[in-house]
């Protein structure tokens, strides 16, 4: 492939609407112009915030995924002597009852990621669907959906979750994630609706209509791709939010009854006065795990902002 030499007819407009896309990005193959997605990847891999956060998140995910496979006993089994500080045999020590804190930690990471993924997917799908439909349809559909969004938005979500968990009882991690997702979508819907409103008025949407393309296809193929960066960051934030909410619920004793999670570990540590007994190894790992994970997610969000928004790039 060669670059066609610019003849008199190919005067490239100076007032290209998106100067960010016109940035000179090096590309391996000459003559091939880098696309938006390549460009995002190029800047993402050079952004220390994104790379650092990704390393932390992926590391913890790997730990949660692989760790339990190497444990020779379950997280709630009484594996050894009680109240042991970290040692070669029990890396993170043991609890008041002789459970292995390391095994509990990796199992807890697993359920924390599960809550994060399921919660953010449930909230993301509901929020995006309502936002896209309300923003694109407009009129009374929009009024109705916006009303619903606002109603759910003003409901104090955490209180409702406490009530639900108390009365219905949460048996499993997926159920907890589902409840969390059902109450954290409204701000997604509002933001997506606002963005869709502005994109709907663009002329390429009219041209898609003139091509006989049905509404649903226009949303998926024309409107949503312009918001990929935003939607991606939404998932990152929802992920962190779901983890925090789940940990809070677990900590106050409203977590799943048949599972291990980082929040539940802290709940038990507090219940059995680990702090007063000086058993720091019981509550520091789960607390640090949650802090690291959620902190990394927010740092990643800031980093992605810089990647997708050329004005924030420090270069």
């Amino acid at each position: 492939m060669t670059v066609p030499s610019p003849g008199p007819a190919t005067t490239v407009a100076d007032d290209a609407p998106d100067a960010g896309a016109a940035l000179d990005v090096p590309d391996a193959r000459p003559g091939r112009l880098p696309g938006r997605r390549h460009e995002a990847l190029y800047f993402a891999l050079r952004n220390p915030k994104v790379v650092g956060a990704a390393v932390v998140i992926l590391g913890l995910a790997l730990l949660g995924l692989v760790g339990p496979l190497f444990a020779d006993h379950g997280p709630n089994d009484y594996a050894g002597p009680t109240m042991q500080p970290p040692s070669g045999e029990f890396w993170f020590g043991t609890t008041m009852f002789g459970q292995d804190v390391w095994v509990q930690f990796v199992a807890g990471l697993r359920s924390t990621f599960l809550v994060g993924v399921l919660g953010s997917v449930v909230a993301g799908v509901i929020g995006m669907t309502i936002g896209f439909v309300a923003g694109f349809r407009g009129g009374w559909v929009d009024e109705l959906l916006t009303m619903l969004t606002n109603v759910v938005l003003v409901i104090p979500g955490f209180v409702v979750l406490i009530v639900i968990n108390t009365y219905l009882g949460v048996r499993s991690v997926p159920m907890q994630a589902l409840y969390i997702g059902l109450f954290s979508w409204p701000w997604v819907a509002r933001a997506v609706r606002a963005q869709t409103f502005s994109l709907r008025a663009r002329e390429f949407v009219d041209l898609a209509r003139l091509s006989g393309v049905p509404t649903r296809t226009i949303i998926v193929r024309e409107v949503a791709p312009n918001m990929y960066s935003y939607l991606f960051m939404t998932f990152v934030l929802l992920f962190g939010g779901a983890i925090l909410t789940a940990a809070s619920l677990d900590f106050i004793g409203l977590g799943p009854t048949n599972a291990v999670s980082l929040g539940l570990m802290m709940n038990q540590a507090v219940q059995w006065s680990a702090l007063h007994l000086g058993m720091w190894w019981w509550f520091v790992p789960p607390g640090l795990g949650i802090t690291l994970l959620v902190g990394a997610l927010y740092v990643m969000n800031v980093g992605l902002d810089e990647v997708f928004n050329p004005k924030l790039r420090e270069m």
Binding site: G7, A9, V12, A13, P17, A22, E203, L207, L210, N226
Partner: protein
Amino acid sequence: MLELVDVHKVYRVGTFGTGTVHAVRGVSFDVQPGEVVSLIGESGSGKSTIGRMVLRLANATSGSIRFDGTDVVSLRHRGLRDYYRHAQGVFQDPFSSYNPIFKVDRTFETLRRSYFPQDTGAAWDERVADAVHSVGLVPGEVLGKFPHQLSGGQLQRLLVARALLLDLRLLVADEIISMLDASTRIDVLNLLGDLKARGLGILFVTHDLSLGNYVSDKVVILHQGRVVERGPTAAVFADPRHPYTRTLLASVPQLDRRWEDVEAEEERRSAALGDECLYHARVDGADAHDLGLVEVAPGHLVGCFRDGADDACPGVRAPVAG
């Protein structure tokens, strides 16, 4: 071919849709094959709304828009898709007419998916290349590029090429020149001339009088949503009857006349016209209609001389005095 009869558009505004804006009032005109009709008016005159209603991007509140006898307003899914085979539009802002994150080829691909799902591969590529060629572009120079890598003129011509892939008979060109550099304007204008020669009907929406004069066979002058004057371009431009049309023409700077002279002449003319109204002078009170037009010369129609759409006619004296 295209026929608008007494088309109205009322927008609901305000929080609960309580207020209304009457954007288009009783507009009627027609477009024949091989004919360029210019809709001329200032911003807010309803000209773009008419273009959008013809393309069914907006719904007319009342009145009928007919294309070869079928009512465009009532078309639904399948019927609308078939209508778009024959009627297409090109819009004002070439940069917003393309999805900025995709290459320009995608606009052809969208069309192919919708209308020619069986045509794939080399045969389709060749058709696209032919269409691009026919609008005076070199396929190798424009295809496979992102919108921001091309000029506005190239993008507009690519949109015309897109429309030409269909069995095109009517093109709505909504201010397609206004955002282009002077150097690329002429290419697009000449392209419209070619299309006209091929028998297409073109509805040319513009605020630029000289462009309207340059390309069109007939002009429709709009003011505050109503037609104040329409007729063959030569007749309207040589002998404008409606005060608004005259003001519009007088406001175009001319190479050989100074502004003061034009102003003075307009003053004299307005004084001479006084409080007359050609329409209400010729049409009897009983037959007169707010939005009516009267034929002053073959094909040349003029409406009531009032300025604002809701004003009283300057020519009508109080009935008791008459």
